[in-house]
Amino acid sequence: MQRIGVFLCTGCGIGEALDVAALEKVAREEKVAHCATHPCLCSPEGVGSVRAAIDDGTVDSVLLAACSPRAKAQEFSFDPLKVAVERVSLREQAVWCQPPNHEDTQLLADDLLRMGIAKLAKMVLPVPFTAEISDTVLVVGGGVAGLEAARAAAGAGHPVVLVESAATLGGRMAGVAQLLPECPPYDVLHPNRTAELVAKVQGDPRITVHTRTRITSITGQPGQFAVTLATEAGEKSFTAGAIVQATGARPYDASKLPHLGYGSSPNVITSAQLDDMLAKGALQRPSDGSVPQRVLFVQCAGSRDPHHLPYCSAECCGTTLRQVATIHQLNPAVETAVIYRDMRTPGQLERFYLAVQSQPNTVLTRGEVAQVSGNGHGPLQVQLRESLLGNDVTLEADLVVLAVGMVPNAADGEAVRALHDALLRAEKGDSETQRKDAAALAQQLAHHQGTEILHLDYRQGPDLPVLKYGFPDSHFICFPYETRRTGIYAAGTVRAPMDPPQAAEDGWGAAMKAIQCIEAAKRGAAVHPRAGDLGMPDFFLQRCTQCKRCTEECPFGTLNEDVKGTPQLNPLRCRRCGICMGACPERIISFPDYGVDRISAMIKAMSVPEEFEEKPRIVALMCENDALPALEQAAARRQRWSPWIRVIPLRCLGSMNIVWIADALSRGIDGLMLVGCKSGDDYQCHYVRGSQLAQTRLGNVQETLTRLALEPERIKVVELSHDEFQRIPEIFNAFAAEIEGLGANPMKGF
């Protein structure tokens, strides 16, 4: 039998603004085991009183009716495996945003307390998770990023398996003689130390290297990935704890740039081809082997161009400067010209740019190259437009180098899956139309055929999902290693355009995340963003109807399906957002401290005044990561809003289950607000697409509302950023006014 203790704080103005005796009465009506007040619950004495009640067995579940869970988290921390804790924000959600000692303020506080007790009464303790966890880190790709990742993970004491599809390690940098300077005075090229790095990795007893090897399958979850490789010596299987994907990038296909002469003249080459040439210590015209007297570099060849690569590859300007310097080392008499749109040499690379600029026989100028023409024999004609040398100027060159951008060596896992599904539907679809549409979709997606790299046995596809432009990443500013597959981290140029030193750093960063994921798996704890959360999702599968919504909507590919479509849980892939819980129409998914019935209980615990009392009730389901902090910021600034609103924080708006809307409306709640973060391409959701999913679900509900003769306006979705606290009063008050205008929920009292 659960023993709930309610601990009421009267500090921070709570005692002055609210009738605490009335709150105690509410607690007693809910038949809690213990109820106490303290003038400053977060003080060592206050926290001590809570601990004493736990230690002497008076209570095993703690309700702290004080300030927000975002305040004093360190003070109010109890063993999560022993004590269930719920916090009620009397301070932020009642005292700071409502007039003191007002009837409506008290009703709000009473409700908040009832809701907290109701939720706590449904909470259970997490069960400690133990499983055998592999310490091994699998690194896919033996370029600079992969080598550094291997070295980092091995250095931290982890066994490493490094897989490379080519015959040798080192990747694109292996053959380059010299690299850009990283140390003062930043004006001369530095020796390339990639070969030393390769030797270090090959000589490390903790690192097993497989070259000419591909992955044939990866099943399982972090800590327990079962990996199968196709090596030269045959198939090989092992278990890995985490994976770093460092598969690099390839140069953009220059044959798509015929206007720049590629393909029509052998003397038009890419910067990668020039690197190959310079690695051999020879600068030659491919047409006749002669030494070119004039070499012209075309920057942004196919880059920053909506018809080719819309993005900038970030390293081509530096690469060109490096190549100009190398050419002049080989032969100072060669004239070099660089035609650029913007010279992009950030940081101290600026000094190297200046050094190259000051070399004789070097021209660097802004312009756009319209056309490169010429055939194998004579000089090439390079036609410029909008250049600083004038408009429509034509230059001659013996060798033209196209500084093409980079394309990530990544497969779009979701697209591969979509192709697979489309092919299946095209064959076995229910109707002729369905089969035809599926065939058309399969045609569109056909270029994804056979692109798999990781071969993940995941319901949502065999590789990492990708962002715009094909880079696998999600929160690339704040949390750059958070791919959407737990335990698999992208590093280097596959993740974002970057230069070799940055790729090296990226290898270390991704290795850090891989090590961390393994450590978390050992404790059964979640990784980012709910790092350390020990609560695992629970599926009551006897009632599952195989609708597959959970397996489709999980942003992290946690769930696989068996042949019937029943979800198969991989708990160590789970990030605890609860999106599956929101998706499930049977409400069979829950977490120890979060679940459909917990939130339903909160909604049912609220008091709903009769219609004649003219006190409408509104439930605001709010994302606890962005919307709720915005509300608390508004409260801290003592802004005020309608007292009719009862806020229920959600882990993610995507965990919103539509049964809550039914619960609320059938109880006579007059309106609901769903407040989440910004969706779309530049989404801010920490779980990628929570607010978007909530909106889709709501779309389905609104039809039902109309059928029930309830106004769809009773439910409103709001996108709110973390910093938009100023909008809170306006949004809340406007919605309250709208609900007042609509009149009472006709289901009130039924």
């Binding site: 400053c40 988290a73 590859s313 802004r366 910021q633 100023q726």
Partner: protein, 418 residues
């Protein structure tokens, strides 16, 4: 790998986005970490940034997750109002002295605000770069974490105890004294960040001389809802919305007389700020004067977006001089495209000033080798890393990347020593 019991903690110096990241990544892998920050809150410069490029999202969104990670992870010990004053090599790795400034407001503070209400003294708000006045005792900013008030003791009137009397939690001690603490640590990550290049070093551009010539960092505060104008972009001279806004790129950067290097973020900061202006003031004319438009990677999207905006012009040209005449700011620009010297007018000028590594003015006690601009150089010693802008000018995404890598280096260093 697992943290051996009794292993020495890692030390992270500076709790901006780089330091917070390095500390958290190591702590979540089971390592003990001491995170030292001289300000009263963590987050550093990003807390004063309105939005990040290229997503135009508030930095507080990511920091919300990071502070939650910090307050729920017992492996990290956060020391705000503290500095490392001494360090020497030891068997553990490093033996360091941390100086804690006097804790006038202690951890019993509930951030209720009663002290601030009665405080009679005001100071220029350092969070808003002196653009407004705040009480001497206050929460440093809306999302400050640790969520504890801070007191500028030097601003207290003689004998005033108003805050002490108002506090019912015994959280204020005006007699608190500084203390020093000796800590053995296994490895060190230095993430001491940057300061903006001072405006008053650019007198030819009226930097520090005209209220309507502001720096990019000021523009971040003007656009922020928590800033001095509640998020309204207004001319500091008269509080009116500007009609013609000029952004001067490379103001004191890529310039041998100032900062010879490129700060790597200013182009994108100005492009982003052009969006702030156009979103609020659609009729305002915005001109960005640049040498090169540096928007690497997917940041190119921001350039594409801004270049297509009506009322925004990007002009390749170096602004050599700014004067004030007839109530307007006059910019002398060498228009490189057309090869002419032109004079342009504006009523608000934003100087895109660069970043100066804080190691330049205040070298750390760890003996880090610096380049001539004060950026920390990488060493072969994995037990001493420099990350973030203390290492090189870079944006937040790159700082987070480098800081995560630095955490791995620190762990490897302690593994080797174990």
């Amino acid at each position: 790998m697992s943290a051996s019991p009794g292993a020495h903690p890692l030390l992270v110096v500076g709790a901006g986005i780089s330091g917070v990241t390095a500390a958290l990544e190591a702590a979540e892998a089971g390592r003990k970490v001491v995170l030292v920050e001289r300000e009263p809150y963590v987050g550093g410069r990003i807390t004063r940034t309105h939005h990040y490029f290229p997503k135009m999202c508030p930095p507080s969104c990511g920091m919300e997750i990071n502070t939650r990670r910090l307050e729920r992870n017992a492996n990290v010990r956060v020391c705000v109002n503290a500095e490392v004053v001494n360090a020497r090599r030891s068997d553990a790795g490093w033996s360091v002295t941390i100086r804690h400034r006097p804790a006038y407001v202690n951890e019993r503070c509930t951030a209720c605000g009663a002290c601030s209400e009665v405080c009679p003294a005001s100071v220029p708000d350092p969070f808003n770069m002196g653009l407004t006045q705040v009480k001497a005792i206050r929460l440093a900013h809306g999302n400050a974490w640790p969520r504890r008030f801070t007191l500028d003791r030097h601003a207290c009137p003689d004998g005033c105890r108003a805050c002490v009397d108002a506090c019912t939690y015994d959280a204020i001690d005006l007699t608190a004294e500084a203390r020093e603490e000796q800590v053995e640590v296994g490895a060190v990550v230095v993430t001491t960040g940057w300061s903006p290049y001072p405006l008053d070093k650019l007198p030819e551009l009226l930097g520090g001389k005209d209220p309507d010539v502001i720096a990019n960092v000021h523009m971040e505060r003007l656009a922020s809802p928590s800033g001095p104008t509640g998020g309204k972009i207004l001319r500091p001279s008269d509080g009116a919305p500007p009609r013609r806004v000029a952004f001067v790129q490379c103001a004191g950067s890529r310039d041998v007389n100032h900062l010879p290097y490129c700060s790597a973020v200013c182009c994108l900061a100005s492009l982003k700020q052009a969006v702030y202006v156009k979103e609020q003031l659609p009729d305002a004319e915005v001109t960005i004067y640049y040498i090169d438009r540096r928007a690497p990677g997917r940041n190119e999207d921001v350039l594409t977006q801004v270049a297509a905006m009506e009322g925004v012009r990007l002009v390749k040209g170096k602004v050599g001089k700014i004067t004030r005449a007839d109530g307007l700011l006059k910019l002398r620009v060498e228009d490189v495209e057309r090869g002419v010297l032109v004079e342009a007018e504006a009523d608000l000028v934003v100087l895109a000033t660069g970043m100066v590594s804080n190691l330049k003015e205040e070298p750390s006690p760890f003996g880090i080798l610096l380049d001539e601009d004060g950026f920390g150089l990488p060493s072969h010693d994995l037990g001493l890393s420099v990350a973030g802008v203390a290492r090189r000018p870079e944006d937040v995404a790159a700082s987070v990347r480098d800081a995560t890598g630095a955490a791995a280096r620190a762990i490897v260093a302690t593994e080797r020593r174990a």
